[in-house]
């Protein structure tokens, strides 16, 4: 009885795999049927009700004004060349590095490294100089299209979301460290901060900051004025602003390039120290990059910025840089609210690292700061990052509450367009699509970061 007869063929409806596939197919089919019938039903209903549909209206003139019109960078013709030269530069320097490695020459050798830097940074920088106007900052006006209005609203939303995420992370970190501090008073205060902010609805907090705090500031004529540099009143916070001149774009590009270069130099220095034990050169090349490139740009493009002070003109201060109470209230409100959650996430992450780690680090004569920075936080990150992602998503989504305090973000602008054009289905669709995209981008970035710091099990 050593021979087994071949197992009898199971009919597909009795095999688990077959059934699984069949169920999947049925599910997919019914989902598609639902989607298609929903789509057709909608069009049919809109038609019978005499409601216009389609996205054509997006191209018509908006006609209303937006209080805070963030400039939208629109790439022009030259931008393509910049992208191409960036790709070519990176590709060439990569090939060079590979080639050197194959020939067993140290690619970290200063001369070769310089060449790589020149290729990956110099080439795009040169293109940028040749096509100086490769990005145009467009400002929304009443005669712009609805698309432009939506883009401005989106830019306002992103501005709040980015600032809110960064600020709430740092504030959360400080609160968490405060809660863990052995100082009784400090840890109690931080605990109260967390409990208070976590348990009050966010909309109420926004109203508090806007109507109670910022509207109680003095009026325009009685502004708090600190020597003309800082002016604070009900209409906002006014600071001296930088007015970009002809060469501003070039200057900023040079600054960013220099920063990228410095980052590369520092990375190389670290690698050299790891591989050879010799500390790589850091200070001189970095200084050269940071001072040299911007000054070259200054020379080539002329003065990049002029300082502009706010002055009282007519009804309000104008000139300089103004932060409106709506924007400030929204950023402060969201930051304070989310920082309480972030603090708890960070605290639990830190407490999740076993005591032994801290004790071992102390035994190696590290001081408290080093223990936290080198040993605890990197391990805590693995616990912190996943829940933090959802807090970042919450900031992006909660920014739409701004509609209640007059900040013209995406939902607010969309609402205006909805009412003027009456295209409710389209606008709601755009809202859903855009927020989905923002959320997916945040999760994608955070998941990538999470994958990098995750514990690699071998």
């Amino acid at each position: 009885m050593t021979e087994h007869s071949a197992p009898p063929r199971v009919p597909f409806w009795r095999s688990p795999t077959g059934r699984a596939w069949a169920f999947q197919a049925v599910m997919l089919g019914s989902f598609l049927w639902l989607a298609v019938s929903m789509y057709r039903n909608t069009l049919e209903n809109l038609k019978t009700r005499g409601i216009g549909s389609g996205f054509g209206f997006l191209h018509s003139e908006a006609g209303f004004r937006i209080g805070e019109a963030t400039g939208i960078p629109l790439p022009q013709g030259g931008f393509l060349y910049f992208l191409i030269s960036l790709a070519v530069g990176l590709f060439l320097s990569r090939i060079l590095a590979r080639h050197l490695k194959a020939r067993n020459e140290a690619p970290l050798d200063t001369g070769w490294f310089g060449l790589c830097l020149l290729l990956s940074i110099g080439l795009p920088a040169a293109t940028l100089y040749i096509f100086r106007d490769s990005v145009e900052i467009a400002h929304y006006t009443e005669s712009s299209s609805y698309i432009m209005a939506l883009a401005t609203g989106l830019a306002n939303t992103l501005k709040v979301a980015v600032i809110g995420c960064v600020a709430s992370t740092f504030l959360g970190l400080f609160i968490a460290l405060g809660r863990l501090s052995p100082n009784w008073l400090l840890s109690r205060l931080c605990r109260w901060y967390v409990e208070l902010n976590r348990n009050l609805p966010v909309l109420m907090q926004l109203f508090f900051w806007y109507f109670v705090v910022f509207q109680e500031l003095p009026g325009v004529k009685q502004s708090i004025d600190l020597g003309g540099w800082i002016i604070l009143n009900k209409r906002g916070l006014f600071l001296p602003g930088l007015v970009p001149q002809q060469g501003a774009w070039l200057f900023v590009a040079a600054l960013i390039t220099a920063l990228c270069g410095c980052w590369l130099v520092l990375r190389r220095a670290k690698r050299m120290r790891d591989e050879t034990g010799e500390p790589g050169k850091r200070l001189v090349p970095c200084l050269l990059l940071m001072l040299g490139l911007p000054s070259l740009a200054w020379l080539a493009g002329g003065t990049p910025f002029l300082l502009d002070f706010p002055v009282l003109k007519g009804f309000n201060y104008s000139g300089g840089m103004g932060l409106t109470p709506e924007f400030t209230a929204l950023v402060v409100g969201l930051t304070v609210y989310v920082s309480a959650f972030n603090a708890e996430i960070i605290r639990s992450g830190i407490e999740a690292v076993s005591r032994g780690q801290r004790e071992a680090a102390r035994a190696l004569a590290m001081n408290e700061r080093q223990v936290m920075r080198i040993v605890i936080l990197p391990q805590a990150m693995r616990v912190i990052v996943p829940p933090m992602t959802s807090e970042y998503l919450a900031i992006a989504k909660n920014s739409s509450l701004a509609v209640a305090i007059g900040y013209p973000e995406f939902v607010s602008v969309g609402g205006t367009i909805l009412n003027q054009s009456g295209q409710a289905v389209e606008i709601v669709g755009i809202w859903m699509g855009v927020y989905l995209c923002i959320s997916l981008c945040i999760s994608f970035a955070m998941n990538m970061y999470n994958a990098r710091i995750a514990l690699v099990e071998r």
Partner: protein, 336 residues
């Protein structure tokens, strides 16, 4: 969170079967209540009294239509400017009586029908007396508080563009928030329809500190709106409103309507009040409809005086909303 309502209303358009559209009159009578969309809070037009009952100019026209179709119960849906049109399109309400401006694009493209004009209004601007401003032409560079989702935003932009002036808008979702921000000094100017400005002024901390500038920067004909394509329902609303206006012309009030019904020998009054002829039955209503309407809300003049007139906090003049034979624009087609 209100935007969820808009989304739901939009979803209503998605799923609602198209059969439910015809025969609003029959639907309302079968349900036994009228679904009427109004303001959340706009004194004089639609607000809650101390007993939690809705009252106001717009509300009275809901009540008039409710009386005409003999469904005294009315379910009010408080709506923001942004929510009102989808709510009507999707069938969430049967009648929108909420200071909605009659415009061509709304009439042509949105599946809506405007009935009568119940109030000839215009957009105005309110400033603080202490600012010393006497004319809208002095407002270059001003900060202006206003409500999103209405013709207000477009009119003010047009006006400033036309006059080569600039301004900064601060735009809120709800009228009470606009008022709070203006009252707190966030803005130099509060703008909406003049009737609305008067309503908002009556709610401010010191109503006498504020003045409405003389310029009217737009025409704002306001009135009840129904869905497109249900002509019978539109006619019911139209003639109910006209009945209240004609009643004023003929001197019929809530108090004397029964007496006049019994005694009047004027053939038009007899037809209008349903004593002779079949005008109201032809609309799909019963013979008692006109007397019921007038007993419930009174005539147009009474509705105006009660909610907006000189003895209310709004202190509005009749102006163009006076009867045609007294120099106004209220002019009703004949009941024949």
């Amino acid at each position: 969170m209100r935007s969820i309502l808009v989304a739901l209303a939009a979803a209503g358009v998605l799923f609602a079967s198209s059969a439910a559209q015809a025969g609003t009159l029959q639907d309302v009578q079968a349900n036994g209540f009228l679904k009427c969309g109004t303001h959340i809070e706009n004194p004089g037009f639609s607000a809650l009294d101390s007993n939690g009952q809705r009252f106001g100019f717009d509300v009275d026209f809901c009540r008039a239509v409710g009386a005409a179709v003999n469904t005294p119960e009315i379910k009010y849906t408080p709506l923001t400017s942004k929510e009102r049109l989808p709510a009507l399109q999707s069938g969430e309400i049967d009648l929108l009586s909420r200071t909605t401006t009659y415009t061509m694009s709304r009439d042509a493209n949105l599946g809506l029908d405007f009935t009568n004009i119940t109030l000839y209004d215009g957009q105005g601007m309110m400033v603080r007396k202490s600012s010393g401003i006497k004319s809208a032409k002095e407002l270059d560079g001003a900060t202006i508080c206003l409500q999103t989702g209405s013709t207000t935003e477009l009119n003010i932009s047009d006006y400033f563009r036309k006059n080569g002036m600039s301004f900064t808008p601060v735009v809120f979702d709800k009228q009470p928030d606009v008022r709070a921000a203006y009252d707190a000094g966030r803005c130099d100017v509060h703008t909406t329809d003049v009737s609305g400005l008067a309503a908002q002024r009556s709610l401010m901390q010191n109503p006498d500190d504020h003045v409405i500038l003389p310029e009217l920067i737009s025409k704002e004909p306001l009135g009840p709106v129904v869905r497109h394509g249900d002509n019978q329902w539109a006619d019911v609303v139209r003639w109910t409103v006209w009945l209240t206006m004609a009643a004023e012309e003929f001197g019929i009030t809530a108090d004397n309507v029964e007496k006049i019904y019994a005694e009047s020998t004027d053939p038009e009054v007899q037809r209008m009040l349903g004593k002779t002829g079949t005008l109201w039955q032809d609309l799909g209503l019963d013979q008692g409809a006109p007397v019921r309407v007038l007993k419930t809300v009174g005539n147009y003049g009474q509705i105006f005086d009660r909610n907006l007139g000189a003895n209310t906090p709004l202190r509005l003049e009749r102006g163009p909303n006076e009867q045609w034979n007294k120099g106004g624009l209220i002019y009703v087609p004949p009941f024949r």
